[in-house]
């Protein structure tokens, strides 16, 4: 059941995280003409994926719709990024938007099967199952899949693999899921936030959507702000907002900051004070080509050691490898080891050139983007904390290592992939 509301004022936020976020009476999108109109609305709105890649949603819809076989829709509510809570928050706050969006997306591509993918143990399955129950009279067949808690399990080919064969490991692409995915059919994999925006676009129109944000990155976006800020949590921002403004929205820093990690554990470090004015968007901005990704932002105090924090996360990412491809399976632990030795201030003289070489060799040689994201994080740490790096390499001690860890790691992880 959707709550009927007046169209919310165009340039106000929040949109998704409003207590009364609902859908105005929608024009009918029935029939093939209706489908085309719906996709056209999304196209004109310029909606981009909110799962991290920022891919134009309308292009994906068209590709899946034009696939030949009847498609399948996978709703990605897995959010395995430890520093991100926006999807879980959205699903608690406005599950009806997610489900309505999924139903619209299924209609747009001509699918009759929708699989909602959630991480095990989040407790959200019940809420969403209730929303789905209220829509059973439609022609769409709904399913819920509870996915193991592994970092790469939320990758789109992992979800396809899980639905097909019960194993949440990435597959080699090609073919990509939009070409051949579940049951060999074109599969639309979209993040829950993307689908929620889609529902609002269908209801309020593309011009309303474009009233906030930038011309190339319109609409609003959810971000998770954590670390050394007064009010860590999930906020809804407009792309184009500066990093400093976002941190202020979260209550401002609790102590002087050294840097912020933008884009989660596949993102980049943005050093301060230059980074304060960095506009955040799904386009790459700034000297480090920073992108919002899945919107996870962690504020690092100046008293912490960025190299040590990154070394911790690098080891986590190495442990989260699906261990299918050699460069990832062997390269990431080697890189994590090198970085840990550097962080501890006792590297051998060859550690830095060896680490740099490994970063180049490992990138791009896995079946999925896991090693690429990990190497990108490490490379950006070496660049953003270059002064600390130089000190570490000559063996000078670092007090930051003794600070409590800032970058979050999950408490519960599944060992198996099934």
């Amino acid at each position: 059941m959707t709550i009927t509301v007046d169209r919310p004022q165009a340039d106000t936020l929040p949109r998704l995280l409003r207590a009364d976020a609902g859908l105005a009476p929608m024009p009918s999108f029935a029939g093939a003409g209706g489908r085309d109109r719906l996709i056209d609305l999304v196209d004109r709105a310029g909606l981009r994926g909110r799962g991290g890649a920022g891919f134009p949603t309308a292009r994906k819809l068209k590709a899946v719709a034009g696939g030949g076989k009847e498609p399948v829709v996978l709703v990605n509510g897995c959010e395995s990024e430890p520093a991100s809570r926006k999807d879980k928050t959205l699903m608690s706050y406005a599950p009806h938007l997610v489900v309505d969006g999924a139903a619209l997306a299924a209609h747009a591509v001509g699918a009759t099967r929708v699989v909602l993918c959630l991480e095990r143990g989040t407790g959200l399955a019940e809420r969403l199952a209730r929303e789905i129950d209220q829509r059973r009279r439609g022609s769409v067949r709904w399913q819920l899949a509870e996915v193991p808690r592994r970092y790469v399990a939320s990758e789109e080919s992992s979800l396809v693999h899980f639905v097909n064969a019960g194993e949440a490991r990435p597959l080699a692409v090609p073919p990509r899921p939009f070409e051949r995915g579940v049951d060999g059919r074109p599969t639309l994999v979209d993040n829950v936030e993307t689908l929620a925006h889609l529902a609002l676009i269908a209801s309020h129109g593309p011009d309303w959507f474009r009233a906030v944000g930038t011309p190339t990155d319109p609409g609003s976006a959810l971000v998770t702000v954590s670390g050394a800020v007064h009010r860590p949590g999930v906020y809804e921002i407009a792309p184009g907002t500066t990093l400093g403004a976002v941190l202020d929205t979260a209550g401002g820093p609790t102590e002087p900051l050294g840097a912020a990690l933008v884009g989660g554990y596949f993102g980049t470090w943005v050093p301060f004070p230059e980074g304060w004015q960095l506009p955040l968007s799904h386009d790459r901005t700034g000297p480090s080509a920073t992108t919002l990704g899945a919107g996870a932002i962690v504020a690092l105090p100046a008293s912490s050691c960025g190299i040590a924090e990154t070394a911790r996360v690098a080891r986590y990412l190495a442990e989260e490898s699906a261990r299918q491809c050699g460069p990832c399976m062997f390269g990431l632990p080697a890189i994590a080891g090198d970085l840990a030795a550097i962080a501890a201030g006792r590297p051998d003289p060859a550690a830095y050139p060896r680490l740099s070489g490994r970063l180049t060799v490992v990138t791009g040689r896995g079946a999925c983007r896991h090693p690429d994201g990990a190497t990108r994080l490490v490379a950006s740490a070496l660049e953003a904390f270059s002064d600390d790096l130089r000190a570490h390499l000559v063996g000078r001690p670092c007090t930051g290592i003794q600070q409590p860890p800032i970058l979050p790691l999950p408490r519960f992880r599944d060992r198996r992939w099934r």
Binding site: R323, Q324, G326, M329, F330
Partner: protein, 199 residues
């Protein structure tokens, strides 16, 4: 051609086939164990495995043909590929027929490897471990004088070689499984000494 001569040809080609089959199996295991050197690079051993298997099939073909043509014992063409239907020693001969069928399947699927499902090819290739013992037991059981003297010694030598190699392979795969976690690969530990490849 006298009957006695054909019988010798049959026996000789049978023994040579068994030796070649043993060599094939050993080369296959060496490949799996990533054995290689500057003088014997891995692609050469792999190529040898392939060529020796084809030679084995050729000799086996001659062996079967001679046995059939030789009218001293009542074995006809069908008995060479259909097991346990011959009039002469159906059990021991049948084992040989099965081994022949298996070898044929192994060679044909391997020649068509690029065109068939890789997992199917791998599953079928495991049948090599069934083919070889069947061939050995066939040889020891059917040969009129195989269970004594130097033919026996030859058979035993083949058996020892294959068993030793198989054990080596088992141990190696257990070790790499322990080292590499939930995926049984371990290339880094074994360096190849290929000329000019400084790692």
């Amino acid at each position: 051609m006298t009957l006695v001569n054909l019988w010798y040809v049959a026996r000789a080609t049978g023994m040579v086939s068994l030796l070649l089959l043993t060599a094939t199996v050993l080369l296959g295991i060496l490949g799996r164990l990533r054995v290689g050197s500057a003088g014997w690079p891995r692609f050469a051993l792999a190529g040898l495995h392939r060529n020796v298997s084809l030679l084995t099939l050729a000799f086996l073909g001659v062996h079967a043909a001679v046995v059939v043509i030789d009218s001293y014992v009542p074995i006809d063409w069908l008995d060479s590929v259909v097991p346990f239907v011959s009039a002469y020693q159906p059990f021991w001969l049948g084992l040989g027929a099965i081994a022949f069928d298996l070898l044929l399947a192994l060679v044909v699927t391997s020649l068509l490897r690029a065109r068939i499902n890789p997992r199917l090819w791998r599953a079928l290739h495991w049948l090599a471990y069934a083919c070889w013992p069947l061939a050995l037991v066939h040889a020891l059981g059917i040969g009129t004088d195989a269970a004594a003297g130097w033919p026996l010694a030859l058979g035993v030598a083949c058996a020892v070689a294959v068993v030793a190699a198989a054990v080596w392979r088992l141990v190696a795969s257990w070790r790499t499984r322990l080292a590499a976690g939930d995926r049984g690969t371990g290339p880094a530990r074994q360096r190849r000494a290929v000329a000019g490849r400084a790692l």
